[in-house]
């Protein structure tokens, strides 16, 4: 799924040369998702994430993540607002094809007027920290190749682009797969199926990508 350009490039310097201080922050509250409040959280989350999608995710996508991995979902709240949710990250964590314990950051969104304050970075860190606590071996995600802000955010956190996915999104845009190893030896862990996807050429079409993102819309 795509990730959000919520941090402007100047927010954290790319090179050690420039050091622009971050803009002053409102007092935001960062909280972990709590299923007891799903009635309030899920609609707000959907609205935040669907904002710029031409085609929204069905409720099952949210349920899929939140019911199974609600503890990996974090939200940024501005309590001065009637609808306080201004940022959200949704993830999952499970063994990848019988191999490494793989975290997946599925969605990361920050309300447009709140971007550039490091909220997305903070949310991504909370999700990653939660996965590290749960002994994750690696974390992966996809992002649109044109989404420079999101790519920079994840690369600052240590992710590398492992491959480029041609016309991955419905709008015809391509994606990068971004990968973060958290332990040594992850690359050599055996999986049931070869991670490099396509079967030998004559045997027909490749299986669909393991992740969702064929359903995604434009830049957000």
């Amino acid at each position: 799924m795509t990730s959000n350009p919520s941090t402007s490039p100047s927010d954290q310097p790319l090179t050690p040369i420039t050091t622009t201080p971050p803009p002053p922050r409102n007092d935001l509250r960062y909280i972990r998702y709590n299923a007891a409040h799903e009635d309030a959280y899920v609609p707000a989350m959907r609205q935040l994430i669907s904002k710029d999608l031409s085609e929204p995710y069905s409720i099952y996508v949210y349920r899929y993540f939140l019911y199974q991995w609600g503890e990996l979902c974090f939200m940024a709240m501005d309590d001065s607002l009637p609808d306080p949710m201004v940022g959200v990250v949704v993830s999952k964590l499970e063994p990848h094809r019988g191999g490494p314990l793989r975290g997946y950051i599925a969605m990361l969104a920050v309300r447009e007027e709140y971007r550039g304050r490091g909220i997305a970075t903070k949310l991504a860190r909370m999700a990653i920290d939660a996965m590290v606590e749960r002994d994750a071996d690696e974390i992966v995600l996809e992002t649109e190749t044109t989404n420079t802000a999101a790519i920079k955010l994840y690369e600052r956190l240590g992710f590398l682009r492992s491959k480029r996915l041609h016309r991955y999104y419905l709008n015809g845009n391509s994606a990068y797969r971004l990968v973060l190893y958290l332990k040594e030896g992850v690359g050599s862990m055996r999986t049931n199926v070869d991670p490099y996807g396509p079967p030998p050429m004559p045997e027909g079409l490749a299986a669909p990508e393991p992740a969702l993102l064929h359903e995604n819309g434009r830049e957000w």
Partner: protein, 759 residues
């Protein structure tokens, strides 16, 4: 009436379901282990207008939701016909580009009328379907001209669809084959389509003076292009026999007319409607029409025609090496040739176990072995059909070689076919096949050992007195594997996979692979030279076949020399860029993507990078510590590193000059005429772009040198505080930008930072 199978007894479970569902908490998910993210994403919410294409909004009735008011029988002015034609061409090309028919051509009400319900005869496919015949004469502009154009356009799509669907492509990534239960008129022979087009052209010719001339001319051009395009697509792989470029060339000759008359058409956009999507048999949510502008559509079509013309240059077989050059050069054009062209090339490469419709796969593989590792060897001459005595070693050799062919043909041919994938998939596929080639090499090694005994191969004596053997088949497999290593790295540069801070290491790794490869080619050469020497004795003795053997050996040596020159060129350039990037990194002017607060370390990032190579046995994986030492040139002073960069770039420039002078192809005979001039032009441009990149690198190295020098001076004199930081600005040019001379060579733009007073 409902049809109910005898064995199934329906039972209303609504109440039970409601009771069970009421026990669930909000948000609770009941699923089996097979309900994955993929299923969750595929789910649609019924009654949500964004997801449910059958949803009717409040106050909307079925007729309004499904039917358009547009009158297909209304008369169209000539400029409106032109507008519809050009609108259709845009959607046709959007479909070629990989968008589904439901968002492109199948939004046309005209096409919808022709194609649904599926017509039983071609006569049935007309715009007046379902209407009672009137005495009024049907307007020829629509009934004849537009209908002929539309039907022929659909037939064109039929040929494209058939070709792509036969070959290896990625659904939704390269192309969408979904037809929504309609046909692209595949049930009809092409002849009547030409009749219709010719009648339309004649009618248009008769209208001279009756309708505005430039519009009339524009319509005529479009009908003509449509006819020629259909002829060209119908030819398809028959091109192997016909060798005809005529139809594509006629299309190309009309593009000026097309471009000039682009503005004459009048938009009839209400003849396209998204409502048709609701009637198409499909489970996807409603999706918007894909609009591309006419210029982009023309550019796409023009490239397709040009690529199709030039594609003929691959058909003449001049050995595997030359074939590989033509295919990879043609398919590396930017933008990449369309999926239709790529599918056509795949079929030409291999169809019914025959290469280019002429060379049996076994012969093709033997030619390759003869070119590289086995010139004039008994291994390739032994033929099981001719020797019937099983005790004869030649019988045994032939048997072993047949097993080899069986096992290696497919992966070998795939090294050609993989060029036809989209660029991202090429890299992903090679990351996968490289492990196969590692296994193939080991299997070939076993075969080599058996064959060596059977063929009584004389060993080569090393200086230390040890005997060594040529291992031709596994040597050949290793050569291919090393090519793939290089391709993975170079496509990594092309696809912007590497972060700036990885560039020193990645160029080091490229040079490491190159020097390994050069060593390997040297080994192969040593054995070929030894064979050639032995053959000289045979020649002197005027032994049978010695002269032919000599020619084959010399040819192989020339190819090895050619490969050496190319790899030396790549190696030298990589060494130079490696050294340059080391300096930039050392002095902290190389941009970095990761931050000090990153979760991963260099060591972990190296492991991700090496992932495709982790399971490869040869060449062995470079351990991280060694990699880091080498990649950062630890222990070498700035002067040493600068010297290295300067020397290497000058060697690279010479080697690329030599590569260019060698030309794209291996001549089979001395005075052979070049049969692939257009592709050779592309190849030359590519080498010249590389040479420009070399010059760019020389300049960057000079800039760094100056800066380091003035830095050293100021350090010695008065400004020690400033000594550690060089005053440079470094930009890594993006792939596709002007400053990026070549996709495979990321040359940094280095300039003096404009800080402080300048003299």
């Amino acid at each position: 009436m409902r049809v109910v199978s005898q064995s199934v007894v329906p039972r209303d479970i609504t109440d039970e379901f409601t009771v069970a569902a009421s026990r669930l908490k909000t948000g609770q998910l009941v699923k089996d282990e097979y309900f994955t993210l993929f299923e969750a994403v595929g789910a649609l919410e019924i009654m949500d207008s964004k997801m449910d294409s059958g949803y009717l909004g409040p106050g909307e009735n079925r007729a309004q939701a499904l039917e358009d008011d547009y009158d297909l029988t209304r008369e169209l002015a000539p400029d409106e016909v032109l507008g519809v034609m050009d609108g259709l061409l845009c959607y046709e090309m959007a479909w070629h580009m990989g968008h589904p028919l439901s968002q492109t051509l199948f939004t046309s009400l005209y096409l919808d009328k022709l194609l649904w319900p599926v017509p039983k005869t071609l006569d049935e496919a007309h715009f007046f379907r379902g209407r009672l015949a009137t005495n009024k004469e049907d307007p020829a502009m629509i009934h004849l001209v537009l209908r002929a154009y539309c039907l022929a356009l659909v037939k064109c799509c039929d040929f494209v669809h058939a070709r792509v669907a036969t070959e290896y492509y990625f659904e939704e990534e390269d192309f969408v084959t979904q037809l929504y239960n309609r046909t692209l008129l595949s049930q009809f022979e092409p002849e009547p389509f030409y009749d219709l087009l010719n009648r339309a052209i004649s009618w248009i010719d008769e209208q001279k003076g009756k309708i505005e001339e430039n519009v009339r001319e524009a319509i005529r051009t479009r009908l003509l292009i449509r006819r020629e395009f259909l002829l060209a697509l119908e030819q398809d792989i028959e091109v192997i026999e016909t060798r005809s470029r005529e139809h594509f060339l006629v299309c190309l000759s009309q593009f000026d007319h097309l471009t000039k008359s682009a503005s004459l058409g009048k938009d009839v956009s209400d003849s396209f409607s998204l409502k048709i999507q609701r009637k198409l048999a499909s489970t996807v949510p409603p999706r918007p029409m894909v609009k591309i502008n006419f210029d982009d559509a023309l550019a796409h079509l023009k490239r397709l025609c040009q690529d199709a013309v030039d594609l003929q240059e691959i058909i003449d077989y001049h050995g595997p090496y030359n074939l590989k050059v033509t295919i990879w050069t043609l398919l590396s054009r930017k933008p990449q040739p369309s999926v239709y062209i790529r599918s056509l090339v795949q079929t030409l490469i291999v169809n019914n176990m025959t290469i280019l419709g002429a060379v049996p796969v076994k012969q093709f593989l033997y030619d390759e072995l003869a070119e590289l590792v086995l010139p004039s060897s008994i291994l390739l001459q032994a033929n099981i059909d001719e020797i019937e005595v099983p005790s004869d070693p030649r019988f045994q050799i032939a048997k072993q070689m047949d097993a080899f062919v069986k096992r290696f043909s497919q992966p070998f041919v795939d090294t050609f076919r993989s060029a036809c994938l989209n660029r991202c998939r090429i890299r992903r596929t090679v990351c996968h096949t490289i492990a196969d080639w590692d296994n193939l090499q080991m299997e070939a090694e076993d075969l080599d050992e058996q064959l060596r005994t059977l063929s009584n191969e004389p060993p080569l004596m090393l200086a230390n007195g040890d005997a060594t053997y040529s291992y031709p088949l596994s040597s050949w497999a290793y050569h291919h594997k090393l090519n793939q290593f290089r391709l993975i790295l170079q496509l990594g540069f092309e696809l912007s996979i590497y972060a700036p801070e990885e560039l020193p290491g990645m160029y080091w790794y490229l040079s490491h692979i190159c020097s390994t490869h050069l060593g390997h080619i040297d080994r192969v050469r040593t054995f070929t030279v030894a064979t050639a020497k032995r053959n000289l004795t045979d020649m002197a003795a005027k032994k049978r076949g010695a002269l032919e053997r000599h020619a084959a050996l010399q040819k192989s040596l020339r190819l090895l020399e050619r490969l050496t020159t190319q790899i030396v060129a790549i190696d030298a350039f990589a060494i130079s860029l490696h050294a340059l990037y080391v300096l930039l990194a050392r002095h902290h002017v190389l941009p970095t993507a990761s931050s000090a607060q990153a979760y991963s370390s260099d060591r972990l990032r190296y492991e991700i990078r090496m992932k495709p190579f982790l399971q490869i046995t040869l060449p062995e994986l470079v351990p991280y510590d060694e990699y880091h030492r080498e990649a950062m040139l630890e222990g070498d002073s700035d002067e040493t590193v600068l010297e290295r960069a300067t020397k290497a770039i000058s060697e690279a420039r010479k080697a690329w000059e030599a590569t260019l002078a060698n030309g794209a192809f291996m001549p089979e005979f001395d005075d052979e005429a070049n049969t692939a001039p257009a592709i050779e032009e592309d190849w030359k441009r590519d080498v010249k772009d590389t040479m420009r990149a070399c010059i760019g690198a020389s300049i960057a190295i000079e800039t760094v040198k100056k800066s380091l020098k003035s830095n050293a001076n100021s350090a010695q004199s008065k400004d020690p505080a400033n000594a550690s930081s060089v005053n440079l600005r470094v930009i890594i040019p993006e792939a596709g930008s002007k400053a990026r001379w070549h996709d495979w060579w990321i040359v940094p733009q280095v300039s003096q930072a404009t800080v402080g007073p300048k003299t």
